[in-house]
Amino acid sequence: MSDIPRIVSSRWDLDDGYTLKRYRETGGYEALRTAVTTMTPDEVAEQVKAASLLGRGGAGFPAGVKWGFCPPGVFPRYLVVNGDESEPGTYKDRILMERDPHQLIEGVLIACYAIGASQAFLYVRGEMALAQERIAQALNDAYEAGLIGKRIFGTDFSVDVVLHWGAGAYIVGEETALIESLEGNRGMPRLKPPYFPAAKGLYMQPTVVNNVETLSNLPWIVANGGAAFAALGAERSLGTRLFAVSGHVNNPGVFEVEFGKTTFRDLLYSPEYGNGIRADRKLKAFIPGGASAPWFYEEHLSLPLEAGAVGAAGSMLGSGAIVVMDETTDAVKAAWRVVRFFARESCGKCTPCREGTSWLEKILRRILDGRGRPSDVDKLLDICDNISPQIAWPPKQTTICPLGPSAVSPIASAIMRFRDEFYAYCGGGEVTVPVSGKAYLSTPSAPDAVGASS
């Protein structure tokens, strides 16, 4: 696997990879120069399309296709960079921003050039002070060097990149909530349709929202061509991708691996990556794509890290966050902790999410406190059903955005697989109730419908 290029993580090992000097010494801003001085915007967009670069923010929508959704003739267009990384288990955008801010900025400029964005806003999560400092410094240096702002590389390509940061709200990572937040509002998502950002985004203008990792791929793609990128990976999942492997592995870390081909087993057990479960314990479950994703188990280890295959198996790669739980893990507690997260982070707009997630959390807390009743288990599932009808995959929702339904994933996963642990807490021994007819993990899925957001 060592012949796989490090497309986005090439400067992570350098102590000064974040400086403009080192960035330029390692080829930085040459792709931008090539793009704006030798290519038309359409040609740049074509390369990105050819690369078949899937969005890395969670929804996995092809970036090149999304760019094409901006209605022709409507200006100004904006680019909004989603650096709000907060999905539990997810840790990669922060590294990209801290260790290679210029790569991101170069990607932002390439995207602005290709889509015709007149202004870009780089929205960094509020809690990431170092990332903010590194980006601020990088932007200041790049402005001084004539790489951003007016007449970039002496051409008529001019764009300001404004650094903006949030103030602590997971939901703001959802693209329409991000836009609301950038407009100075509470980060409450808008309904899609009609408010697809590409058509009616920031200030109701066409807006492309892209994730930090997505954009960080662009300099390489422009420099090496979309085809070179697409030569890596498999099926719909091409190029390389960052995965954060956390929890009960011997070597937790963020790894750039070939997308679509590497398997979960590779990632969890290969010495290069996770290097096996700690203390040689048995795997109990793992979350394959962030807290919102239904859990996977032993039997899923052979699946490739490929969006389609993972979707078909009933979960998602989401934000590239793999959380590993060994056999000592308390499934009820783990489920509760993830549900508490969604209950605390619900924006409060939709009744089922606002009331439902906090209700679920209260019941789970009560069960953990030893005050649960066996009937609570089916009640939990029925409440889940009212947030995400039929607890299907991909999820249906009674809500505006997928946050509410996301809270269903850990509960449904834990109850389907570890129902007896719930009963144990509830003091009842009867593990007789069958899995209430809701075939959570066996529902066939349409691979691209996962939290589709574009």
Binding site: G348, P352, R354, E355, D385, T398
Partner: protein, 835 residues
């Protein structure tokens, strides 16, 4: 079928939807009611509560979608009754009830609560929620009028959306996040909106309650009728609710051409005045000891008739005057016009208190409706009143038109108004010099400054007026200057832009009806000049006045000179309302006999020799006419206090005592007579007004009116006037602007305890830059002196007041601005100094 028609299948039935129509609306129009909480037809949908989710299939399989957010598309299939839909809706309801206190038995909303109703229709039987509920401190005041119980709140965003989107007062807001979210104000910054009561009406649960109504009645005890609000001349449709013969609440009724369901707080809460203990319930007569003493109707009427008769004998019809009438129904106004002008021969009748417009301007110019003013693409030229303070729901309509329909506003006003933030151009001219500015505006002005306004600004405004239809909102910005320049402005505009339409911005209830029915000197009922309608009305009434009479200022002057023998005040309070306090005092003192017909013992009424108690709002039936000329029905709901009588009955009884026959017997019969004799009302029959189209009211004259043979045309010419330049301001003085505000010391506000204190005492407002020059500081008590007198008031800075201008509110507690004004002077200049 038109191009815009879409075929949509709802619950298996194919219906036709309009382009852009929301699923929830299309379904409702076809008899399928989808439950909802956050959706409100007059506000932008937010799709938050999720109650209206139904399965919608646009070709990619059924998916749950909020029907309040999704527009119909051709071929769409909607299932509002599928198992999935039902389960989801029941789930939403259960979620809403999870933290709800379920205190329906003690909740004001119980019995009319959408949450309660929908729980009955769609909800689960029993609560599965055994966890602890969310707790908040019980009702907290969010304003002087509105209380909020956050435990009952279901976070539908209706009140907060209303505050921001409709009223433009985002002073209540969602605070905190997720399950902790609450509606609240910023600490110490209450929801002081003129429109706050609407939030109570649209709250789908009992979270918001109004102090004036709280715990007064249970909804099932209420009886209700639909009527028209007469708190100002916008004429919003209302539902009047009462219990045990007592008015308890007004709710806005939604009619398209007028108020869209909204009311202002003054209109909503001044029902308290109807119930006031201060209401007059029996006649009063001044005895020899000069005290007003209760009397029997027969005695009071005898005294009044005797005084009138003696007065006529002494000084002829010219010695009789009637002031007021804006409070009256159309029918009562007609009765009093007929009595005074037809039977007693006096033309000294004026419904306005010297604070309005020349009647020719109101009746004689091409008139606009509110819809005309708000039509997309048009421009509204504001010449005068502050609609937010004087005609609040018109302000809401204009605000909506500006923000949503691209209507532009050009404002000419000496000080900033509530419309200023919405105006594309706002020209601050010197007080008293509006006419010069209007002339420049329509004359392709190439020069420099006019009336204090820069030439370029004038050209920018003129450019806006160049294209698209124009509606002129005409009224008095300030009562400290003469109304004559307004007449010039109006005629200038009319000549330059003959297609421009005018909306008269007079505030008082039925002032337009009173003018239409002849309650101004020189006019007869139905927009007819005295001289033009002489023959027609002589045939019908027996006689009409020989010559044109005096307006209010003229009457007061004549009275002060001892030339008015009998002065009748019809709900008029000149001491409070007439801009020139000194003249009003002398006038009242100078009349030999003052007869007052009123509901309250106002300052002016206290000066009367005979006081006849009149029935008030919701106690009489009839019709009223709003500022568009829209006639709509008033419905009686309760009986008047004591022996108070409708104004027209009082007129008829007085006639009787005078051995005259007014020939008027019932409200319906009077309306029939109006329709027959008053040309502007031809065709506006009782049947039309009370029929299905009458709910919106009927704008007169009807376009397809069939003229009765020989009847004069309803047409009042507007005389031209020349511009008079006011004297220039000396270096030590400021020019005074005195404007009205919503909460003043008017009778209704003063007698509504919930509203009475909202206006607060008068303060003088000056440009911040004038403070140093005058040697005063913000908060100081200052002495304001004019040629007429002086008052002492606190002063505060206001950047909306230009330099060299001093702004005071009209008729407020504290300093009385009318004490400074000379009604015969073109402008009022004052000095401001530390006392």
């Amino acid at each position: 079928m038109s191009e815009d028609a879409l075929k949509v299948t709802i619950d298996g039935r194919e219906i036709t939807a309009r382009k852009g129509e929301l699923v929830i609306e299309a379904a409702e129009r076809h008899g399928v009611y989808i439950p909802r909480f956050c959706y409100h037809p007059r506000m932008r949908p937010v799709g938050m509560c999720r109650m209206c989710i139904v399965e919608i299939d646009t070709g990619r399989g059924p998916a749950l979608q909020p029907s309040c957010m999704i527009e119909c598309t051709d071929g769409m299939t909607v299932d509002t009754a599928s198992g999935v839909t039902k389960k989801a809706q029941e789930g939403v309801l259960e979620f809403l009830l999870a933290n709800h206190p379920l205190d329906c038995p003690v909740c004001d909303k119980g019995g009319e609560c959408p949450l309660q109703d929908q729980t009955m229709s769609y909800g689960p039987g029993e609560s599965r929620f055994v966890e602890e509920k969310r707790h908040f401190e019980k009702p907290i005041p969010v304003s002087d009028l509105v209380l909020l119980d956050r435990e009952r709140c279901i976070l539908c965003d209706r009140c907060t959306r209303f505050a921001k989107e409709v009223a433009g007062d985002p002073l209540i807001h969602f605070i905190d996040r997720g399950a902790e979210t609450q509606v609240n104000t910023f600490p110490g910054d209450p929801f002081a909106s003129y429109f706050s009561g609407n939030t109570v009406q649209i709250c789908p649960v009992g979270a918001l309650t109004a102090t004036p109504y709280r715990f007064k009645a249970r909804p099932w005890d209420l009886e209700q009728v639909e009527s028209t609000c007469t708190s100002c001349s916008v004429g919003c449709r209302v539902v009047v609710q009462s219990s045990r013969n007592k008015v308890l609440r007004y709710q806005g009724a939604d009619v398209d051409p007028v108020n869209w369901g909204w009311l202002c707080d003054k209109g909503r809460f001044d029902f308290e005045a109807v119930n006031s203990a201060e209401r007059l319930g029996q006649p009063l007569v001044r005895d020899e000891g000069l005290l007003l003493k209760p009397a029997a109707w027969s005695d009071a009427l005898r005294r009044a008739a005797g005084a009138i008769r003696e007065g006529l004998d002494r000084g002829g019809p010219k010695a009789l005057a009637v002031l007021g009438g804006a409070r009256l129904t159309n029918e009562s106004a007609y009765a009093w016009t007929k009595l005074t002008k037809g039977l007693l021969g006096s033309d000294n009748v004026d419904a306005q208190m010297g604070d309005g417009l020349p009647p020719e301007v109101v009746l004689g110019l091409p008139r606009a409706t509110i819809d005309d003013a708000c039509r997309p693409g048009g421009t509204v030229l504001l010449l005068g009143p502050d609609p937010k303070e004087e005609l609040p729901v018109l302000f809401l309509r204009l605000r909506h038109a500006v923000l949503n329909d691209g209507v532009k506003v050009v404002e000419l006003a000496p000080t900033a108004t509530g419309m200023t933030p919405l105006a594309t151009v706002s020209l601050r001219h010197r007080p008293g010099e509006q006419a010069q500015l209007v002339r420049a505006l329509v004359s392709r002005w190439t020069g420099g400054e006019v009336a204090g306004v820069d030439g370029d600004e004038i050209r920018a405004a003129a450019a806006l007026l160049e294209s698209g239809p124009i509606t002129v909102l005409l009224g008095r910005h300030s009562v400290a200057e003469s109304a004559a320049p307004l007449m010039v402005s109006a005629t200038t505009l009319h000549e330059a832009r003959p297609e421009a339409r005018f909306l008269s911005g007079l505030r008082r209830a039925n002032i337009h009806g009173a003018l239409e029915l002849g309650m101004a000197p020189g006019l007869l009922p139905g927009r007819v000049l005295l001289d033009v309608g002489r023959d027609w009305f002589t045939d019908r009434w027996g006689s009409v006045p020989a010559e044109t009479g005096l307006d209010t200022a003229g009457v007061l002057r004549a009275a002060a000179d001892g030339r008015i023998d009998t002065l009748i005040l019809l709900g008029a309070d000149p001491l409070a309302d007439f801009p020139d306090r000194y003249l009003a005092e002398r006038g009242l003192a100078g009349a030999r006999t003052v007869i007052a017909v009123d509901q309250f013992l106002t300052e002016s009424v206290r000066q009367a020799d005979v006081v006849l108690p009149a029935a008030g709002y919701a106690e009489v039936s009839g019709t009223t006419t709003n500022l568009e000329g829209r006639v709509s029905v008033l419905t009686q709901k309760v009986t008047p206090p004591g022996t108070a009588q409708p104004d027209w009955v009082i007129a008829a009884d007085l006639a009787d005592r005078l051995s005259l026959d007014l020939g008027l017997e019932s409200v319906e019969q009077i309306w029939k007579e109006i329709e027959a004799v008053a040309p502007a009302f031809a065709g506006a029959t009782h049947d039309l007004l009370t029929g299905p189209d009458g709910r919106d009211g009927v704008v007169v004259p009807l376009p397809e009116r069939r003229a009765t043979d020989g009847a004069p045309d309803p047409w009042v010419p507007v005389p031209g006037r020349t511009v008079i330049s006011p004297p220039s301001l000396d270096a030590y003085s400021l020019r005074l602007v005195v404007s009205r505000s919503l909460y003043d010391r008017g009778t209704l506000v003063r007698n509504s305890p919930s509203l009475a204190e909202l206006g607060g005492p008068a303060t003088l407002r000056l440009n911040p830059a004038d403070f140093d020059r005058l040697g005063v500081a913000a908060g100081d008590e200052v002495r304001v002196t004019s040629s007429r007198g002086h008052i002492t008031v606190p002063v505060r800075p206001d950047p909306g007041v230009p330099r060299g201008v001093a702004a005071l509110p009209h008729n407020r507690a504290g300093g009385r601005a009318s004490g400074l004004i000379d009604a015969s002077a073109p402008v009022t200049d004052v000095r401001v100094e530390r006392p």
